[in-house]
Symmetry: C2
Subunit: 301 residues, 2 copies
């Protein structure tokens, strides 16, 4: 089934205890698309400036990622981000950011994409997410990411968005902030009360939890990775594996959502094993399925 | 099979955002025994002073907990602890502590207990844990708890102890400190290299992980508890459920260790649902089995 992603394309410089990766390709829609393309064809919407040194057609060569929605905005510049991860790899600091195209109008969703049935709105202002969503007609399942600054500064828009989507994906700190409850089970229930039928809370190395209205819950640890080189893109890869699996199977019943979360978990484990997209570009679908079986084994009793 | 526990008996005053419980019964061996007694008969070893206001025979009435190893030391006083939990229930502060009997010689293990096959050495100095263990002849499976201060100040003794036990149970911060590695998978492997065949790392609301020499791993989320009133005793209840199940089944193969960790997880979820021992004394084995099935359901895909 058709899967649309809208999000950022970035030039990242990342410092971790394992090294530095300078001016490498990043951005939410890039990680998402690379992850989702193992499962389903992806329709990619995003903007770069003419300064972007990466040829995305080459980056995605051999993968089913449609770049018709990629806009090169002549008078603008590509989003840039520089960040440093602490020794524990959990905390990261933004050293430098240039929003550039991200501070401007969102891209148009191409006419040919407007019938997309599965939609992922990567993290940006809730107002922009809404504008992008309004360009899609009758989607079956819409998921969105958000972050602390929109919860703090854009809560009204975010609440409007929550009434329009099927699934919110956010991390534990953001869930606590949005629900104003430290207990994650209660926080998830409160967020379900704000509109989406499904909430996924990501807890980094402690895994993730999915709650659906009506009391269904699924809790999954992270894949037991003994090698973490660069956590950048983990969340978007998780979302990519999750949405990719749903779009592939055309199902959103709870059993499918559970398997989708497991695929997201596994795909993210490859992302963090190396810098930039290296961990994702060097693997096959068979590697992903192998880790899925390992994850099933180490979590069942 | 016979299950021996050595540990503390305390008079606790606990403050949490849900209330204050003053001068209530606590202590590692008390929580452990209450939890383990749902599964197997428990042999209890510990010391109190004549000031102890609790009649342990009454506390454990109707449960298979043998108190022959309970010593009332006439010239001494019972251990006292006062602590406050922060709003998030994860962090706690010790406001006041009186070691009293815990700073003295350990109790004798009664002659009739020395053939115990399953042994749990609750947290105390590694030197004392060793002295207690030396009084047991040919146990099948010995588990011990430890904490940050012994890792910092008593590392030589702790390393000697690690060569004598089958299983170390500790929390994530302690594991990172002992192994000098932030990654918990690597930390577990390093601790296995110090002697015990099994390491269990507890991660609070993020669950626990068990690793066995040879690469076997099991990772389990915490039970999804929406009501946490008092986390005191969670770790000892976890150990009680874990060791109780092993002693009940007389098995320590990896499948049994996994189920034992799941039982420990579930029993701890009852402990934290109320103050002191209330959460454990108000339930039946059927309630425990019910939550075990729920835990299986919410973690399988």
């Amino acid at each position: 089934m058709s899967l649309l992603v809208t999000g950022s394309i970035g030039i990242d410089t990342v410092k971790t205890p394992y090294g530095v990766s300078e001016d490498c390709l990043g951005g939410s829609s890039v990680y998402f698309s690379m992850a989702a393309s193992f499962f389903a064809p992806v329709r990619f919407v995003g903007v770069i400036g003419p300064d972007c040194p990466f040829d995305l057609a080459e980056v995605f060569a051999g993968r089913d990622v449609d770049l018709m929605g990629l806009e090169v905005r002549e008078q603008s510049k590509t989003f840039r981000w520089t960040g440093t991860y602490s020794d524990n790899m959990d905390d990261r600091r933004t050293d430098y950011i240039e929003l550039n195209v991200l501070a401007e109008a969102p891209p148009d969703v191409p006419e040919a994409y407007r019938d997309s049935k599965y939609v992922f709105l990567a993290n940006t202002t809730p107002g922009l997410q809404m504008q992008l969503l309004e360009q899609v007609q009758g989607p079956d399942f819409v998921a969105a990411d958000t972050m602390d600054c929109w919860i703090k500064d854009d809560l009204d828009d975010l609440k409007k968005l929550l009434g329009k989507i099927d699934c919110l994906i956010l991390n534990d700190g953001e869930a606590r902030m949005l629900a104003d409850d430290y207990n994650l089970i209660k926080a998830a229930e409160k967020i379900l009360g704000m509109g989406p039928g499904v909430v996924i809370i990501k807890k980094g190395e402690s895994g993730s939890m999915i709650c659906r209205a009506g009391g269904e819950r699924f809790i999954l640890p992270a894949y037991p990775a003994d090698e973490v080189k660069d956590p950048t893109g983990a969340g978007d890869s998780f979302a990519g594996g999750f949405m990719g699996y749903l779009a592939e199977t055309c199902k959103t019943d709870f059993a499918s959502l559970k398997t989708a979360v497991a695929y997201g978990t596994v795909v993210a484990s490859f992302t963090i094993s190396d810098f930039s997209l290296e961990g994702l570009t060097s693997i096959s679908k068979g590697d992903i399925d192998g880790r899925l079986e390992t994850l099933r084994e180490v979590t069942s009793f």
